[in-house]
Symmetry: C2
Subunit: 725 residues, 2 copies
């Protein structure tokens, strides 16, 4: 019934993720509102529920909802104080109880899914602290999002729930499937976008793709979204975050402006990643022990500055909802649609864009739960809306000339809300370097289906600009910054064979003739994760491979008396765990020589009613510890002549920890992901695909340039020069 | 500039696919209308353009559009005659010029993408004949869709366009990337659903997933869709096929009915696949040479029967558009929304469902281009609409009782159109066994975003039912039926090592000491695709592997005089291709022994100004043909102890043609995909996951049953019994 169990576990994981997301949403909402005022009908009500009786219309307040003071200055001070308190509590909790709860978590989970082990990263402390600090951080007004952390929390839930079941605790690969599915559910509940979540898990998170895992992701995301919908935390009955009804079609000439948005997205991504990494380096060097102070300072700064710009003061999701709206049907919030105010609004939007970019650069990575999805989208939305307003102003001034001739005469021609929408997509794609996921998420959160082609065009331009500037996604850059062993998904050509890269000075174990003390000295003098086993005749013929942890397990379980060889010896080694000293001279066997041939493949079966005593008499093999049941008899091997690229493909697609290099049965080396990464880093310091070997996009861009503005190319080249510095 | 070239090729492929799709659409439309009547303003106008002046409203005709006759019987006869003529022309063209143009093509392309070679399957004849017969077949009214063939045509375009460039013609893997991208574009233009196309290429078509290929698919699908949108063949300016505005939310109690639709989808898929395979077996046995007669008979039958059911007479896309509509705002076509007519309409819908299922079973697979996407959706839509009408009738009768208490009082509670929508999704998913793609396609073609959760629930039930009944998708079943070498994506456990499966009686080549006549006798006495090379000392030490085609190439290019050994010998072998007979005793070398060590890795470079003459003097190696430059020195090798499951993973993820089995450097066997499939077929005749080892879904279903109707379980068990017979 393991398949049944796995569906049961997935259901449980999905329900828990949905519940957790609902609670986090409700608490965040309440905390965000409490900064402004309180409900006189009951302190536990947020503004929306406090003013619930007035239905159907968005209101800015009601009688029951009281602001903290009538004086603007006092309101401002209370706002800032709340931000400071929230950020202090959350950063203090993170520092004291769960350091891993800081940051977004997506980079680390990518590595975990690729096979990297980080003890405690998905543990209960991380889950609990991240869940309770996340609403505080959001409410503190810091320029961070809840989507990345929500993926991390979801993965913690997946790992914790699955850990309750033996099947999953024991199998790394099954655990990874659950974590992948949980990451899909995490995005699904964060955005209310189940299919977007599944695509995110395919495009960004998982290292290999399998239909089975995708199925699990679909199921888990569905259960989680369904739970969230059933909880209905905001009583709107909608999963769609920003309902829009773009019922007018776009015009072909608007593509020119869409391209500008795409370029902005690419530039935004590259700049943020570049400078955020510098901030991260500075933080590591100077601020390592001042996480709390840093977070409080940032929150204060954000609150002090943000209070004076209407787009920065309200939270990012609300601001996007306003910016995405059409002007018709109640979209004229903040005078966004009024012609006389257009230049003032544009200035305000530009300011919001610039300030928010600065805040994201210095905030992302500080020691609180912090995502970069929503801040990026908010930045893109302010910029996009600004472009939209400018284009609309141009159209108003010259309705009959040039490109605007294509507008239909009686209906509004330019919808600035769609520019905000496309700008948000571009910025998100620019910073994460994901595409199909972004398209689907944008549709799932807005329903703007007519704009699927413009969205794709914008994202293609963003990708082209990002490639031109040579950046990877922020998750990959963070992985590199932190030095995690992770092979990037993109392939490069190195023109060397694996023999160049492999480690040749190996610590090997001999099939026979080693004693416990020899093995232990091997263990203590090296920190290799495993050892190849070779024949004892000096020919280095490969026999197998054993993990360090397996040796440790057997040696740690050494019995007080000598262990008879034979298939059941492991029963004995588990019986007692003491008196190891006197066994130093016991021989160790890593060979099948004394086993029945039938037992080679299968782990020996033990029946409850077998009497172990009868195996006690020493066999003809003499006394010793037989490691054979723990030896991997068929390790992954390759020839030394194999090109490095193929070895990298094997690592990526098959996922072994180590690959042994063998020539005609004789061991000649060993290669791990770390060896490959070391080679890449030392041999080609800048191994990012340089401009020259991807002439394709340059070609494409050059074509764009021939009919595009010359300034664009100047900006791009100038940006590249800055970023390469 | 290869990267640039590849983007250029993708653009070209996308544009061609878009253009082709636009032309096929226009011609199909015209041909479909010509069956009914003609335009007096000009024979080249279809009904829509003929009546173009009346804008804004759907009309059933206008003065310029004349039907062929005023007498119903005459109209009917003309309708049938046109159907016969169209089907005759298309099946005749297929039989005479391009047999590969028949059928859907998806199964075959899946195999091609997995590495199987089918000469001519993506050739020009196939492309041309399939493109011109597709509109005829659609217009003939046969119960087939244009989506599968459109994928095939797109892949032909990809292969033909890329074949113009050396880079792609030479590299199988690059070609596969282009074909994958083209398949995405094919679905994209068929449905107007670019993201759905990309997901289709990931979920159904491609064997492995890579970000790079996904990118190319996105780009190609975008270009193709954009081209189609720019051509705007229907002058509607919309890509959305069936615009709906489901603005009312669904109710939780409706899930009960959604489950019924899901079960229908699963049952439909299983029944159609089961009986269609029986028809295919019958066709292969008895109708192999009567393709034309068969197609004409089927078209006549379809036209004769279909004319009398309003949902069968109009083409499937229009019928779906009508069925998906809400009752408000002009949705009352065919009296679909009138309460007095509800039982008559339900009967008509049920009849349409049953007849169409029968027609699909006998038609899919006949010798014309034929897809199963749209017919399945049309069947699901008629069934779903029927369920919707019945539910609405129940609600009208008991508006205040039971589950209907949850309905809001003033607004319509049940929207039958949404049931049609969900039924279409269920039937499509049931027959193809794809899910995420179906969700995205459904919401790209309708824009029904609120219904994303119900769609996912329906598809999960469909999958559970399909798994319970033990069916695979129709594409996979067709692959098995045709005996193509293709490993299914799902994994199974066999508990054997590769040594059980491998071929042991190998034909090997010796490193040295063989003569041309020996090699030629090996080639003629076997039909292996390649040969392992072993050392000449009788120890079977593995040296390398050489493809049959490479040997053929070298031997076919044998020069009229003896070839000197050395890295440049291949220059000589290309020089002349005659006088082979007298070389029978020339020694063949498959060894690096006489090469400079530096030359081992790289194919020897030849500069234009090198004078080959200087290498003419026989080297110390003596005379002979050196095959070394063509030998694969690092074939994929595994140990005989390796579990079969891992070998299958290597085939699936790394895609080698053959894997050599080697023990301590000594060759012990060879295994290909065919060997694995042979083992699976003989060892476990029914290797489909039996019910017992996937208790999970049974468990899930059983839970459903505890609160569901007992009849459902009876139907399911009965269906399984029939299908297992």
């Amino acid at each position: 019934m393991t398949a049944g169990q796995s569906w049961f576990v997935l259901t449980l994981v999905g329900v828990c993720i949905g519940l957790n997301a609902a609670i986090v949403s409700i608490v965040s909402e309440w905390l965000s509102d409490i900064k402004m005022g309180y409900c006189s009908d009951g302190w536990w009500l947020n503004q929306q529920f406090c003013c619930w009786e007035i239905e159907g219309e968005e209101v800015d307040g009601c009688d029951s909802w009281r602001t903290w003071s009538h004086i603007t200055l006092a309101r401002w001070i209370i706002f800032v104080i709340f931000a400071m308190v929230f950020s202090f509590i959350s950063s203090h909790l993170v520092r004291s109880f769960a350091k891993y709860a800081a940051g977004s978590g997506i980079s680390e989970i990518k590595c975990i899914l690729a096979g990297f082990v980080m003890q405690g990263y998905l543990g209960f402390a991380t889950f609990f602290i991240k869940s309770i600090t996340l609403p505080l951080v959001i409410a503190s007004g810091l320029s961070v999002g809840k989507e990345g952390p929500s993926v991390h929390v979801a993965c913690c839930i997946g790992s914790l729930v699955a850990g309750l079941f033996d099947n999953f605790r024991r199998s790394q690969s099954k655990m990874r499937e659950i974590i992948t599915a949980a990451s899909a559910a995490g995005v699904a509940v964060a955005f209310g976008s189940p299919i977007g979540g599944v695509l995110f898990s395919i495009e960004e998170m998982s290292h290999t793709f399998s239909i089975k895992t995708m199925w699990r992701s679909v199921f888990c995301a569905l259960v989680a979204t369904f739970t969230l919908a059933a909880m209905n935390p905001f009583r709107t009955g909608k999963l769609v975050l920003f309902q829009v009804t773009y019922d007018r079609d776009w015009h072909f000439f608007e593509i020119i402006f869409f391209v500008i948005l795409g370029i902005f997205g690419g530039l935004y991504g590259a700049f943020v990643i570049k400078f955020n990494l510098q901030v991260a380096a500075f933080r590591r060097k100077h601020l390592a022990n001042h996480g709390v102070a840093e977070a409080v300072t940032l929150a204060t700064l954000t609150a002090v500055i943000g209070y004076f710009n209407r787009f920065l003061r309200i939270d990012m999701t609300s601001s996007m909802a306003i910016l995405f709206k059409e002007c018709e049907g109640g979209g004229n919030v903040f005078n966004l649609c009024q012609t006389p105010a257009q230049w003032r609004i544009s200035n305000s939007l530009l300011l919001a864009t610039i300030i928010r970019i600065g805040l994201v650069v210095i905030t992302y990575g500080c020691k609180v739960p912090a995502g970069i999805f929503v801040p990026s989208m908010a930045i893109g939305a302010t910029f996009g809306r600004m472009v939209g307003i400018i284009v609309k102003a141009m159209y108003r001034s010259y309705p009959q000339s040039g490109i605007f001739k294509f507008c239909a005469p009686d209906v509004p021609c330019i919808t600035p809300g769609t520019y905000a929408f496309l700008g948000a997509a571009a910025a998100l794609s620019g910073v994460m370097r994901i595409t199909v996921t972004v398209v689907v998420i944008m549709f799932e959160i807005t329903g703007a289906l007519t704009y699927i082609l413009p969205t794709m065009i914008v994202l293609l331009v963003t990708k082209a600009v990002g490639d031109f500037l040579g950046t990877n996604g922020i998750a990959d850059q963070m992985i590199r910054f932190n030095g995690f062993p992770f092979l990037e998904k993109e392939d490069h050509v190195y023109n060397v064979t694996v023999s160049t890269v492999m480690r040749k000075d190996l610590t090997t174990l001999l099939e026979t003739g080693m004693r416990v003390k020899d093995v232990e000295s091997h263990l203590s003098s090296t920190n290799f994760k495993g050892f190849p086993i070779v024949s004892s005749d000096g020919s280095l013929t490969l026999v197998g491979y054993i993990d360090r942890s397996e040796i440790r397990y057997v040696l740690g379980a050494l019995p007080m008396f000598l262990v008879p060889c034979g298939p059941y010896s492991f029963l004995w080694v588990e019986r007692a765990r003491k008196n190891r000293g006197r066994l130093a001279n016991t021989p160790c066997l890593f060979t099948a020589r004394y086993q029945e041939p039938d037992d080679i493949d299968l782990a020996p079966e033990v029946h409850e009613d077998d009497e172990p005593e009868e195996y006690f008499a020493p066999t003809t093999a003499g006394e010793g510890i037989n490691f054979w049941p723990w030896v991997n008899k068929t390790p992954m091997t390759v020839s030394p002549e194999l090109p490095l690229e193929i070895v990298m493909q094997i690592f990526k697609r098959m996922g072994p920890r180590a690959i042994l290099v063998e020539e005609h049965g004789v061991l000649s080396g060993l290669v791990t992901v770390k060896d490959v990464l070391k080679f890449i880093a030392t041999e080609k310091p800048d191994h990012r695909p340089s401009w020259d070997d991807r002439g394709g996009l340059e070609g494409l861009l050059e074509e764009v340039w021939t009919w595009g503005s010359d300034n664009v190319s100047r900006i791009l080249l100038w940006s590249r020069r800055i970023l390469r510095r």
